[in-house]
Symmetry: C2
Subunit: 339 residues, 2 copies
Amino acid sequence: MITKRSSRPLTLRDVSEASGVSEMTVSRVLRNRGDVSAATREKVLTAARTLGYVPNKIAGGLASQRVNLVAVVIPSLSNMVFPDVLGGVSSELDDTGLQPVVGVTHYSPSREDAVLYDMLSWRPSGVILAGLEHSQAARAMLENVGLPVVEIMDVDGEPIDTAVGISHRRAGSEMAEGILAAGYRRIGFIGTHMPEDHRARKRLAGFEDRLTEAGVTLAAREYYQGGSSLGKGRELTERILTREPDLDFLYFSNDMIGAGGLLWCLEKGYDIPGKLGLAGFNGVDLLDGLPMRLATTDARRVDIGRRAARIVSGKEARPESGVIALSPTIIPGDTIRKP
Amino acid sequence: MITKRSSRPLTLRDVSEASGVSEMTVSRVLRNRGDVSAATREKVLTAARTLGYVPNKIAGGLASQRVNLVAVVIPSLSNMVFPDVLGGVSSELDDTGLQPVVGVTHYSPSREDAVLYDMLSWRPSGVILAGLEHSQAARAMLENVGLPVVEIMDVDGEPIDTAVGISHRRAGSEMAEGILAAGYRRIGFIGTHMPEDHRARKRLAGFEDRLTEAGVTLAAREYYQGGSSLGKGRELTERILTREPDLDFLYFSNDMIGAGGLLWCLEKGYDIPGKLGLAGFNGVDLLDGLPMRLATTDARRVDIGRRAARIVSGKEARPESGVIALSPTIIPGDTIRKP
DNA sequence: TTGAAAGCGCTAACAA
DNA sequence: TTGTTAGCGCTTTCAA
């Protein structure tokens, strides 16, 4: 390949001149659109390669009014859960010519507004965003863009257009069910103090409601700030068990702190799952190699990403109801007694 | 905010008509550019908000020949290392008006070519990509784009424009140094079989070279395919120690499998670090809550992301030499004997 | 199968 | 401080 350094980027016109073919036909060849003779096609491709031409999608997008981008707006990347969702999105988008563009909100509604505004200004072909709770402004923007908008992760609420996710209320409720069935009664909860993490909040609500139905009250709670880590899990577990030594179950709001708690309890010689049961949430890979398998709920992250991408790309029709509710699957692991 | 459903997206002209101000002045207000009277500004902003106008960056980019996007091309997201790099990039880009756009190559050179081509066709303001090894085609593209191009993670090689990273040869060599100083001699290595992971390869080369200098030969190796997990680490550790029971050290190519190996060894009752030493690579958070702190090397992921972003954004000048070599820092942990 | 003309929505450059 | 004009590099539409 021969290339020349030049301040001006190459344009279709350059390829047109180098190949002796009109710009229009060059454009057709480069996009595989319309009928072009093999000879012409060859001339054009050779010229383009020789020059090292890279098309300008900015100009193309403006002219065609179509942009092969999908905006994906998520709260966090450090979380171990959203990369999985992204993986699902990207694998399903792979053969569609669409490309995900990721924006991160750090669980801040105002950042979400800003990120959305920014992404919409690129006129993407669709929007995938986490959660059902958005500012007035964000809802207004999204209701009027005239694009597929898929809200993911959660189905407990009213979608703007379409929702793909699990019911976190149900996830919490079913875990409570399993814990009660196994005979645990003195139950403690450990989770982040994050008013903006609506899914964690709904999970706990579903969990407590189910306990209440059974006449059981949450015996203790421990909240923390900031990111989740094994260390945090240890620390909080120690704290809650020191405060309430007679707890017989700990429900963690995610697997990372759950795993930390599990490691701590094992070191301290707790009888698990006999005297103390444990459960997390998410179903992350990390749990695979721990000394004991933590009970958890598979949040269907990859599936959610895939289905959302299928809808945005038009592979799958938006359901009449606007909601695709996947089932949160309980993975019993070894940290809950068999009933 | 009043919005109306319309098939045609709003344009500057709509805001211009609604506010009775010329398109040009509307544009100035919306970009905070040039002198505009407070009264006019107010009229424009009110009109824009009332209509729910979202600017079209496609058109803006074409007209101004500038696009506030930075292409970030990395091998993987599921890796636990690249999200950290991204965090560094994005935090440093936050106040520059530049936005990262992420492309993932899955360690495939041909995917890298495709992703780069695609991203360059958006005419970004700069490119950050992992590694120094690229196809001819990729190098040609990047040498001629006339943008800042920062290759990250690695400095052992010739950058196209600028490199920010650590020397993986040195990281391997220094770890070998530490292991030898602690008196270990029967050393085994566990790593991925990934010809395209050049950094892992260089680390091992540096490691072995240092051993050779000391007259020590690697006593065993175990390779695996696919992703890293605690489970993989356990499995491989068991395999290598079964095959070569008299090893006194295991060097893992990353912390995830290292942590798996550590957990396995602790369960089996190995005397660590007395009879058997262990070390990983990366310095990930995960290590914090394990029963014992795995020795590792901090790969400076966040710093690398930050510095790369500073260069691309012009906050920091490209160094004369084109290379910014950060120091890989050894974190001794508890799994290497004190010399 | 190929080409010519017009214009996508915005901003640079200049004029008033 | 505000407005006018002329494109940015492509693709759509229509004609040949």
